[in-house]
C-alpha cells in the first residue's frame, strides 16, 4: 500500500521542513492527501518516488508559507541530544542529528537550505518557488549553513 511503503521516506522530508515532528506529521498528512488526489494525473515519465517527494516538498512549502508566525526558539532537547552524540559523529553529524538541527533553523533559512542543499534546486529556481530574489536565496542559504555550523560546534564543544 502506498502509504506504508513511502511514509518513512516522505516523513523524513517533512521533518526537514517542519519545526518539530508534530508539525512534520501534519505536513505528511497533507502531503498524502495531495498525493492521493493527484495520483491519477501522474505521468510515468520519471521516478515515482521523485514525484512523491516533489508533491510532499510543495505541500510542505505551502504549509510553511501559511503557518510561519511562531517565534523561533531553540529546542533544549535537541541541544541535549547534540551533547550526547558520540565521538563517532563529531566529525560528521548523524542523519538524525542533521535533521533535528535543520528543524532548529529559522523558517526562511531552513526552507532555502532544504531546497538548495538537499533537493538540489538552483537559487534561480528557489527564487521562483519562494518568490524571493536570487541574492536573498543565496544569502539565506549561507546563513543557514553558518547557523548549522555554529549549532553543531556548540554541541560538540559542550560535549568536551
Amino acid at each position: 500500500m502506498l502509504y506504508y511503503q513511502y511514509k518513512n521516506v516522505l516523513f523524513s522530508i517533512c521533518r526537514r521542513y517542519a519545526q518539530n515532528n508534530e508539525e512534520a506529521e501534519d505536513f505528511l498528512q497533507e502531503g498524502f492527501i495531495q498525493i492521493y488526489t493527484d495520483l491519477y494525473q501522474y505521468k510515468p515519465h520519471g521516478s515515482f518516488l521523485a514525484w512523491l517527494k516533489t508533491v510532499v516538498v510543495h505541500v510542505a512549502l505551502k504549509q510553511v508559507k501559511k503557518e510561519r508566525k511562531k517565534k523561533q526558539t531553540f529546542d533544549k532537547e535537541v541541544w541535549t541530544r547534540l551533547q550526547q552524540e558520540s565521538e563517532e559523529y563529531r566529525e560528521k553529524p548523524s542523519r538524525e542529528i542533521l535533521i533535528e538541527m535543520i528543524q532548529q533553523l529559522p523558517d526562511g533559512y531552513r526552507t532555502v537550505f532544504n531546497l538548495y542543499a538537499i533537493e538540489g534546486y538552483s537559487h534561480q529556481e528557489i527564487s521562483e518557488i519562494l518568490d524571493i530574489s536570487v541574492s536573498t536565496s543565496k544569502s539565506q542559504y549561507h546563513k543557514a549553513k553558518r547557523t548549522l555550523q555554529r549549532l553543531f560546534k556548540s554541541g560538540a564543544t559542550a560535549l568536551k
Partner: protein, 549 residues
C-alpha cells in the same frame, strides 16, 4: 569538524545522507489520514448507506402504492342501488317466495343487487362481507336469488346506508335508471319497441358514506379495511386472530396473508387480494370478452427476474490493450442480475423499478517498456528492488499502478529497457437502481410488445485488481508486488430505453426478451475521472404476475 561544513561536497553528503533517509511517523497518522483522503474506504460506508436508503425508499414506495391501490375486486363488481320499492317488486317476481317476508319487514333502507362482471364470482361471499354482523346474522340478512333478467346478479340487503362505506371497498356503487322513452328499432319488418326495460348506468361516487359508529358499543367484532389491504379487528379478551382473509370459492390462488394475534385487544391482518379475471363471462353491460380482457390489464403487477448480459460501448481502452474483440467473453463476464417490479395498467402504461447487481472481471493485456535506473532503488537482503509506476488502461479510465521489481543481481545497466508483459484483471461490482415507465401493446392474447425507458442510479465499485502471467523478459528479474487497486466508487445517473417482447406462458408466468441501451446521463466526477457506462444489453426476464389468479 568545522571542515565538514566547509567541504566542497557538503551538499552532496547531505543529499546522500538525507535523500532516502527514513523516519517513522506515529501509528495514529494513518487513522487520521484515512478519513481525509479521497480514496478512503469511508466511501464504501456512504455507498452502503446510499444503497440501504434507496432500498428503503423503493420498498416503502412500493408498499405505499400497493396499500393505497384499490382492491382489484372493485373493478369487477358493481353494486346496484335500488329503492326498496322497486327491489321488492322485483323480488316478488322472483321464484324464492319464502324470502319475501323478510324483505317486507322494512328493516332496511336500501336493497343492493350484486352484479358481477367477472368469472368465479361468488356473491355469497360478498354478502357476508357486506353484512358486518356475525356470519349467522349475515346469512339471515343477505339474500341470494338468481334473477332472470341481467343474469348473473344477486340481491343483498343493507341495514343502513352508512354501511355502503364497506361496499365501496370492494365494488362500484351504481344506480340503474330506467329509460322511459325507448327508441324504436327499425328493421325490415318495420319499427318495434324493445320489450325489456333498458337501464341507464349512473355512478354513485358522491353517495354520502361514513363508517358505522356503533360497532364497538355493541361489543361486536368489527372489521373494516385500511387502504383496502389492511384489515383490523378488535375484541376484548381474545387470543385468536380476529380478522381472517376472505377467500372466494372460485379463487385459484391464495391471498398473501400475514397476521399477528395478540392476547390483548387487537389483531392486524394485512392481506393482498387477488382479482378475478375473465375473458369469457359476459359483463353486465353486455360487452363480452374484449372489455374483460381489458380489465384484466388494470394495475397488474409483475415480479421479474432478469438476466442481462451486455457489451459496453464506452470503453476507453484501445482494442489491442483491452479484449473487446472477444465479445462473447465480455458478455459472459459482464452479465447483470436484477429483480424488477413492473406494472401494467389498463391504458397500457405502467411503472417499473427494481435492483440490478453485476460483478465483472475485465482483463487488460499489459505490454509496456520501462527504463531501468539505479536511482531510488532499494537494497534489501542482498537483492535490489525498485518501484516503477506503470500505466494501466482500465475499462473506463486510465490510471497508474506501482510495480515492484526485484533483481537477483544488479546486472542491468543504467537506462536499459525492460519489457513488462502480463494480464491485469479488474474486478468491478455494479449496483443499479432503475426506475422508469413502460408502454405495453397487446399484439395478441399471448404476446405483448413492450417499450420502456427511464433513469438508473448506478454505482460501480473497483474493489480489486490483480496482475497475472507477468514476464519481464529476463529470468533474473521478477515482479514481486503490484500495488493493489485503491477502492473507488463511481456514481452516475444513467438513462435507458428498451424494447421487448413478452410471451405469456400462463396466467402467472411470462417470458420477456429484448434489447436495451443504457447511456450515462450524468456522473459524479471521481478523482478527476469522468466515466461513461454506455452499453447494449440483452434482457431475458421471467415474469410472475402478482395479481393473476
Amino acid at each position: 569538524m568545522n571542515d565538514f561544513f566547509e567541504q566542497d561536497d557538503f551538499e552532496e553528503f547531505l543529499r546522500e545522507s538525507l535523500e532516502n533517509y527514513e523516519s517513522v511517523p506515529s501509528d495514529s497518522l494513518w487513522g487520521k489520514l484515512q478519513h481525509k483522503i479521497p480514496l478512503s474506504p469511508t466511501i464504501g460506508g456512504s455507498l452502503i448507506f446510499s444503497v440501504v436508503a434507496a432500498i428503503t425508499v423503493v420498498g416503502v414506495g412500493s408498499l405505499f402504492y400497493f396499500s393505497t391501490s384499490k382492491v382489484p375486486l372493485a373493478e369487477h363488481t358493481d353494486v346496484i342501488l335500488e329503492d326498496e320499492r322497486f327491489a321488492r317488486t322485483e323480488w316478488v317476481a322472483s321464484p324464492m317466495q319464502e324470502e319475501k317476508s323478510n324483505i317486507q319487514q322494512k328493516q332496511f333502507e336500501k336493497i343492493v343487487r350484486f352484479n358481477s362482471i367477472s368469472d368465479n364470482f361468488q356473491p355469497q361471499e360478498i354478502s357476508k362481507e357486506l353484512a358486518v354482523r356475525s356470519t349467522e346474522t349475515a346469512a339471515k340478512e343477505s339474500y341470494v336469488a338468481p334473477k332472470k333478467i341481467n343474469n348473473p346478479q344477486e340481491i343483498g340487503v343493507l341495514r343502513k346506508t352508512t354501511e355502503l362505506s364497506r361496499v365501496r371497498e370492494f365494488a362500484n356503487i351504481i344506480r340503474l335508471q330506467e329509460i322511459a322513452e325507448l327508441p324504436k328499432i327499425t328493421s325490415l319488418r318495420g319499427s318495434t319497441t324493445p320489450q325489456l326495460p333498458v337501464y341507464q348506468r349512473i355512478d354513485m361516487k358522491e353517495f354520502p358514506l361514513t363508517l358505522p359508529k356503533d360497532i364497538k358499543k355493541k361489543g361486536k367484532p368489527s372489521s373494516f379495511s385500511f387502504k383496502s389491504t389492511f384489515a383490523t379487528a378488535t375484541r376484548k379478551n381474545t387470543k385468536s386472530t380476529l380478522a381472517k382473509p376472505l377467500k372466494r370459492k372460485g379463487d385459484k390462488s391464495t391471498p398473501i396473508v400475514a397476521s399477528t394475534a395478540t392476547n390483548t385487544r387487537s389483531s392486524l391482518l394485512p392481506y393482498l387480494r387477488t382479482a378475478p379475471t375473465s375473458s369469457q363471462e359476459p359483463s353486465f353491460s353486455g360487452k363480452e370478452a374484449a372489455e374483460d380482457a381489458e380489465i384484466k390489464q388494470k394495475g397488474m403487477w409483475f415480479l421479474e427476474l432478469a438476466y442481462s448480459p451486455h457489451i459496453w460501448t464506452s470503453l476507453k481502452s484501445k482494442k489491442e490493450g483491452y479484449r473487446t474483440t472477444r465479445w462473447l467473453e465480455q458478455v459472459h463476464q459482464t452479465a447483470d442480475y436484477g429483480i424488477f417490479f413492473t406494472e401494467r395498467r389498463k391504458n397500457g402504461w405502467g411503472f417499473e423499478g427494481g435492483f440490478i447487481y453485476g460483478s465483472y472481471r475485465l482483463n487488460h493485456e499489459l505490454n509496456q517498456t520501462i527504463e531501468f535506473s539505479y536511482q531510488n532503488s532499494f537494497f534489501r537482503r542482498g537483492e535490489l528492488s525498485k518501484n516503477y509506476a506503470i500505466n494501466i488502461e482500465s475499462p473506463f479510465w486510465k490510471e497508474n499502478r506501482l510495480v515492484q521489481i526485484r533483481m537477483t543481481s544488479p546486472e542491468l545497466e543504467e537506462g536499459e529497457q525492460i519489457q513488462i508483459r502480463g494480464n491485469y484483471t479488474y474486478k468491478l461490482n455494479s449496483f443499479q437502481i432503475p426506475a422508469g415507465a413502460n408502454y405495453q401493446l397487446e399484439l395478441n392474447p399471448k404476446l405483448n410488445l413492450i417499450l420502456q425507458g427511464g433513469l438508473v442510479w448506478s454505482f460501480m465499485t473497483v474493489p480489486d485488481g490483480s496482475f497475472s502471467n507477468a514476464s519481464l523478459g529476463r529470468e533474473s528479474l521478477s515482479i514481486i508486488q503490484v500495488e493493489e487497486t485503491e477502492r473507488r466508487v463511481f456514481e452516475s445517473i444513467d438513462s435507458y430505453i428498451g424494447l421487448g417482447l413478452r410471451y405469456n406462458l400462463s396466467d402467472q408466468f411470462s417470458l420477456k426478451v429484448g434489447p436495451r441501451y443504457t447511456a450515462t446521463f450524468r456522473n459524479r466526477a471521481n478523482h478527476n475521472e469522468q466515466i461513461s457506462l454506455n452499453s447494449w444489453q440483452l434482457n431475458f426476464g421471467l415474469n410472475y404476475s402478482l395479481n393473476a389468479e
